[in-house]
Amino acid sequence: MNPLLEQFLSEAREFLQGIAEKLMQLENTPDDSYLLVELFRLVHTLKGNSGLFEFPEMTRVLHAGEDLMDAVRDGRVGFSQKLADDLLDAMDFVSVLCDQIEQGGKIEADMTVDSYRLAESLRVLMASQMTSAQTPVVDDAQPASTKDTINFLALNQLPETVRIDAYTRAMAGETLYWVIYTPIENCFFQGEDPFFTARQTPESLWGQISAQEAWPPLAELDAYRSALRFEALSAASREELIEHYRYVEDQIQLIPVDPWSFVIPQGNPNGGPVYEDFVLDALQYMDAGDLTALRSVAETMLQLSNPELWLSSALRWLILLLDTVPPNHQAITILIESLRSLKAPDWSLLTDTLPVVTAVAVAPTIETGSEIKTPVETSSVTRADAKEISEADALALASIFATQLQILQLDDNASWQLGRIKAVAGVLLNCCKAIDDTHAIAAIEEALAASLAAENSAPLIDWLTARSLNVAVVKPVAEPIAEEPPIGLKTLDEAAPMPTVEEITPELVSADDVPKFGRRPDESTAAKSLKVDQAKIDRLMNLIGEIVVSKNALPYLAQRAEEQFGVRELSREIKAQYAVINRIAEEMQDAIMQVRMMPVSFVFQRFPRLVRDISRKLGKEVHLVLEGEETEADKNIIEALADPLIHIVRNSLDHGLELPDVRRAAGKPASGTLTIKANQEGDQVIIEIIDDGKGIDPEVIKRKAYEKNIIDEATLERMSDLEAVNLIFAAGFSTAEVVSDLSGRGVGMDVVRTAVEKVNGAIQLDSQVGKGTRIRISLPLSMAVTKVMIIESDDQVFGMPMDHVVEIVRIPVSELTSIKQSLTTVFRGKIVALKSLNSLLGLPAEPIVNSDGEVAVLIARLGNEVVGLIVDDFHETIDVIQKPLTGVLAGLGAYSGSALMGDGSVLMILNVRGIV
């Protein structure tokens, strides 16, 4: 993907997020004019950005959104819930388009019609809410021909296929004649068969019979008095036709038919909406001279429309007109315009009935005073020193000069007028420099001085007026200057389309492959930030991981230097160097960690929308409070947090918070409050989700857990309320009686717990019946580096994450007691179950008892419980970069991962939950 597109997508997502936020803020404060202005600006800028690419589907929807927001900002349309909903939908659509672009580099074809539909719905909404009724009224949707000849010739009776054939032939240079043959009354007596004659019309494309008068009752009919008229459309030459009708020459009329009069869209005008945006887009393509794109959108529209519709017929014609060589731009424009009104194209507007190549739409010129309009005849005024300049430059120059004249002629008496005059003089000087017109420079400076002295622009206007005559000289004589549109209006050279952005950017940026980030891509000037591809950070992360591992080899080296080679001095030096490298590596690691840190707002920002949508669906009133959004944690942690948090929030909305009536009955405010807050405690991030809903009844939970065989009766008896409510995190437990459409889905809170524990976090819930529920999630700030304690058992070493280590103790064998089948000991006044690591891992060896008759016990934390692991020995703690197990190893529940040790060996990291 080219860097510009990357930049666009990344910025688009920011804007979409911003738009959604602003919309939701506006729901609370619909009159906040600052918000309205900001919202407009975001939509407007996003639309502008999308215009740099060929994403008409996106631009179309955004354009409609921009117009709508413009109207809201100006007070023409009031802000409403419906409006917010529709705009949010539109932004969701744009977001989908962004995804498609990111994944496939393009927008899927089937989005076209949706984009029209969405844009249309926004426009309809806007029109319907306009305070002053400015909506154009479509008076009569019935297509009516405007040109008499069409009615007269009854061309609209011809089937479309015949007219297409006729049009195609006419465009190929054939002249088509409409033959009207009105046989005389007594022709039958002369042995004639006018019908046969008519049917034999050479190169007849179509024919019809009509009655010249109403038929009398059958009894009065004179069958031998001819009362019919025959008409035929023929591609034969005039001579051939006259030859054919030579005996009845006086009874026929030959009318050459203008090819455009065949172009009559027909069909059901009411069957489908006509998309104003399609018309606008089509006209824009015309302006840009991009007939290929126009043809392709027309084709898409046609495929999606019922062929019986008037619209479809018009589209078929449009495509035919586009395929005609050379295409007639004016005719195409007229046809597109007819799509808007659903009326037959008004071909009388065509200035030339022959196919014309030239672009006809000449932009209106800005009033520039009479002086500038007459340069065509002044080619005698030549400048000897005038440099030969290109036509493009000449046109640009003329337009720049015209603009400067316009600026000088502004009569707003602005206080900054002198500055404006200086700037204009600067422009004139520069332009003359650009064309090497050194003579002019002195004259401009003189005029500027005079203007400044007089504090008005007259001297410069004089110079410019005189000058504009000269400028015309370098222009092609045939082209009057007045036709040059001022800068900004569409350029003249429609026929030669400029390369599109997509084509030129790779070339422009090929010099260096690195994305050219703006110096300050961030909105705030204070915090200068840089957007970096995640992959680059990950690479840094891996590299620092390798350094950490490599440096861990140094202590081993020092050890060998001393023990194996007996050079104690060297060993000490290595250790000293190690200390330095170790410090730098740690700092570096820390610095990279910092880069990976991101605020929880990344996850929080989706909640306003989520809460709004869900609560509305449930008919609940919810006030969402977000706190501590700036709290940071490692990107992986934040990302891992998203799904569990959404699940919890859904649960709270679904089961926690009550309906307004229920709340009122319970003496609570109708609107519930859901608070999501984050803060940092030591090296942990704490996220709390608090609702003031109905709470969780521990008795209900206990009963259910018992029913579901999650706890036995004994546990049921002695369980505290707190323990009970936390049972909702147990596997296979779901509190909802009925699986709800929102949070149900067959997964319970155990999924949340699993997700949190996966990133070494813990989750806890406390609740008061009738008051509400609080869920507290604690997470490590970072998961990239794990501190592990090396433990030894049966001559093997393992890593035990320090998060789980409560304490390490040596306990005399005499203090171990067996309760039922399990070994326990009393530790700090509590009974702790002891398990032998060897037996847990399936190792046959017995734990080693040291000379003092003690076993080594590692007290490990397991959620809210502790368990003692009997091992053979403890070693040091080290930092490791834990790598997930892959392949068959990934299935081993006993290990959470592996880490590379300084000596090159692999350390298996124990997963306490998996073994106990």
Partner: protein, 122 residues
């Protein structure tokens, strides 16, 4: 080397213009809004400003008025906008722009105007 300040709140548009201008050998700086642009204009001199209309804090009109009115810089300025209406152009000229280009600006169109307004020979 001629220096150009791009004043635009949209990073994508800045990058687009920057790519075009840098490929033609101009040195480019960026400002995200009118206030930042004024700060930059006060600190160093540019040969041309390319100014967006709609920006937070201070919009393009405000920036140009300040530029011209406070005599901060009187070098040429081009306003870029998505609107092609004549009254939008007049508003730009009134504020102090010397040129008006409709977004998306075609690279050749931009470069031709920049070159002429800056006063560089072909």
């Amino acid at each position: 080397m001629k220096r150009i300040l791009i004043v635009d709140d949209a990073a994508t548009v800045r990058m687009y213009h920057r790519n075009i201008l840098e490929s033609a050998g101009y040195s480019v700086d960026e400002a995200l809004n009118g206030i930042e642009a004024i700060e930059k204009a006060l600190q160093e001199s540019f040969d041309l400003y390319i100014v967006d209309v709609n920006m937070p804090k201070l919009d393009g009109y405000g920036f140009l008025r300040e530029l011209r009115g406070e005599n901060i810089s009187q070098v040429p300025a081009i306003m870029v906008s998505t609107e092609a209406e004549a009254n939008d152009q007049v508003a730009a000229f009134k504020a102090g722009a010397n040129g008006y280009l409709v977004k998306p600006v075609k690279p050749e169109q931009l470069l031709t105007h920049v070159r002429l307004l800056i006063g560089e020979t072909v």
